[in-house]
């Protein structure tokens, strides 16, 4: 893990002091709300439907046990005893009082955390593969590059007032687990004849105009990363539209300009900027990489593990679903599901956070990750310790064996919390999880993603089944898309037709899933493969069968 320097600590502490004074001035009337709002947003403090919301940055989703425990303490002391892990690999607290937010930021600073650049038209938290540093298919660990980008982009004077927010994702493996092509910039680490490089994608994004990112550079040497990113950002900063918020993202800039012209402009900017990078970035990268050395893996007897696999079918099901292969043959990466059936996707209570921190400390080489799919990962655990980890998780309701199944749903906060939402997402996710609990193993891999408005925080466009909640004449209405994908074959799902009311949605999903079960070749053909083979028409007909017979 990256260790904060005194410079980092001083920077974060200064920001807390600044913010404390800003809150004081707001409360004594020296600042109006119009003056204060951009200041609080720069520190991650939003106003939502029922309360303020504090969004805390978790750089590339990495946490230490100490930091996780601090999040639990904050949940207990200043919130309602829980936190919500997000698709940006961050955490949100839904109920802080404004007057407490400076104390919360100070408590975060004590453990080298903050909420800077979790809002506003800046470069946001860089996201990455939750199995970084552990995955079998990894070319190189993406976290040092993510950290380098974090340091470069934090308070970067040129990029604090971009036309719109800017999101960067990096994947280190051949399998894209970071949805890189749905980001403003997506980076894929590649092997350039023994040296590390990047395949660079640009102009991806979801929201009201979903676009899959296009390749901007097929083989960028790693040493050119920062000057190249700076070139992309500087072109966007000048050419990005500031006249219309809905056309201000880089995907629109690239679309209007065309990828070839955009690339030419980036190349020209790169030539101009490259000489300014004299190697300091690379020496910083070298220091950062030293912080991300793999842990010292331990050899342990696996007798207990194999015996549990043989004797305990629940444990075996959990290992099959929630344990991911690791670089080290006797290790695994464990995904702790925050999707217990009927629960709010991504929520963890303070007690659950503490248990996860304890397990990371005892068995996980002091590392935790937040996945963009709103689960928590212990990236490095010995298989020998899996039975005990499973037992401890079970005590806190955290041993649900559902990763990749119907109930492992991404859902944005929706209208239960969010001021921008047009419909609820979470109750839909809860209903789906409960409805298919007994059938989900039979159904197999199926990613459902739900957004409560067109901004698509729930990634519905890239769900195998996507659900978008809208307000139709004062009634919640849900549009269904089919055939989206977030992986290497990234694709935007196709809209099936008219939306469904809250009450109509579950029967419609039943028809959709029953059709899949009826037409798939066998259980090994996942939903998305069946859609690929047959197209969406059988599913569309299933959804609207009632209309057809009426």
């Amino acid at each position: 893990m990256y260790a904060y320097t005194e410079f980092d600590r001083a920077f974060v502490r200064d920001r807390v002091l600044q913010y404390r004074d800003q809150v004081k001035r707001r409360l004594n009337g020296s600042l109006t709300e119009d003056e204060f709002k951009p200041l609080r947003l720069m520190n991650g403090v939003y106003l939502q439907l029922h309360a303020y919301m504090l969004r805390v940055a978790i750089p590339y989703g990495s946490l230490t046990p100490r930091q996780m425990r601090r999040l639990a303490d904050i949940a207990d002391k200043w919130d309602k005893g829980y936190g919500h892990f997000t698709t940006r690999q961050n955490i949100q607290f839904n109920w802080p009082r404004l007057i407490d937010t400076p104390d919360i930021l100070e408590a975060l600073a004590d453990v080298d955390m903050h909420a800077i650049q979790t809002s506003g038209n800046t470069i946001r938290n860089v996201t990455t593969d939750q199995f970084a540093g552990a995955a079998l298919d990894e070319v190189a660990d993406p976290r040092p590059y993510a950290e380098l980008i974090r340091q470069w982009s934090t308070d970067h004077p040129e990029f604090q007032f971009l036309p719109r927010k800017f999101k960067i994702a990096i994947t280190g493996g051949s399998d894209d687990r970071a949805v890189i092509r749905a980001h403003d910039i997506g980076l894929q680490l590649i092997d350039l004849k023994g040296r590390v490089g990047f395949r660079v994608f640009v102009g991806g994004g979801l929201g009201r105009t979903p676009i899959i990112g296009q390749e901007l550079h097929e083989a960028l040497p790693a040493e050119d990363l920062l000057p190249y990113l700076e070139a992309v950002l500087s072109v966007y900063n000048l050419a990005g539209r500031r006249d219309n918020k809905y056309k201000a993202r880089i995907k629109i800039t690239v679309g209007e300009m065309g990828i070839d012209v955009f690339r030419e402009k980036v190349e020209a900017a790169f030539e101009r900027l490259r000489p300014a990078f004299t190697g300091q970035d690379l020496s910083v990268l070298g220091e950062i990489q030293a912080d991300f050395e793999p842990p010292r893996f331990l050899e342990k007897s696996q007798d207990v593990y194999f015996s549990a696999l043989d004797s305990d079918t629940h444990f075996r099901a959990w290992v099959e679903r929630n344990a991911n292969p690791h670089k080290h043959p006797s290790y695994a990466s464990v995904t702790i599901s925050l999707k217990g059936h009927g629960n709010t996707p991504g929520d963890a209570s303070a007690a659950q956070m503490r248990v996860m921190a304890d397990l990371a400390e005892r068995f996980g080489h002091e590392e935790l990750r937040v996945s963009h799919e709103q689960n928590i990962v212990l990236p490095h655990v010995a298989q020998a310790d899996l039975p005990e980890i499973y037992r401890q998780l079970g005590k806190q309701g955290l041993a649900t064996a559902n990763i990749g199944l119907v109930s492992d749903i991404i859902a944005c906060p929706g209208m239960d919390y969010c001021a921008l939402a047009t419909a609820r997402s979470i109750p839909i996710a809860q209903d789906i999880a409960l409805r298919y609990e007994r059938r989900e193993s039979e159904i197999g891999d199926l990613k459902i993603k739900i957004s409560g408005c067109i901004n698509a925080c729930g990634h519905h466009h890239v769900g195998h089944i996507g659900i978008l909640g809208l307000d139709k004449a004062g009634v919640e209405n849900y549009q269904v898309t089919v055939g989206g994908s977030a992986g290497n074959d990234a694709a935007i799902g196709q809209k099936m037709g008219r939306g469904f009311s809250f009450e109509e949605l579950m029967p419609a999903l039943d028809r959709l899933i029953d059709t899949y079960l009826a037409v798939r070749i066998d259980q090994s053909e996942a939903f998305v493969s069946t859609v690929e083979r047959l197209g969406t028409i059988p599913f569309q007909e299933a959804l609207y069968v009632i209309d057809k017979t009426a």
Partner: protein, 104 residues
């Protein structure tokens, strides 16, 4: 934007807690919709909105449509209903404190 349907109440978020609050007949801001001053005239409601809203107490004030069902006030739009009651995923937030109040 759709025309506002009468009657309406004045709602905002409390500056300190961020909680959804309503302007009451008694001249205070309260977390309960019950007891809100109900306006049958848009002009009157807008004039009051200018008058009663203080940036030092609440933020983001606006007019919210309501229905009068017998003696009870209810929000017309589901969004306002969630603001009034709290999240629907499980019992916490405003609905929890209202339940505790009833239990007392």
């Amino acid at each position: 934007m759709a025309a506002i349907k009468l009657p309406v109440v004045i709602t905002a978020n409390d500056l300190l807690s961020g909680e959804a609050v309503y302007w009451h007949k008694s001249g205070i801001w309260s977390a309960d919709l019950t007891g809100s001053q109900v306006f049958e005239s848009l002009e009157q409601a807008q004039a009051s909105l200018q008058q009663v809203v203080s940036d030092a107490v609440v933020i983001g004030a606006y007019l919210a449509e309501v229905l009068e069902e017998g003696n009870r006030l209810v929000s017309r739009h589901y969004r306002e209903g969630f603001r009034e009651r709290g999240p629907s995923n499980y019992c916490h937030g405003k609905q929890e404190s209202l339940r505790q109040k009833v239990a007392v």
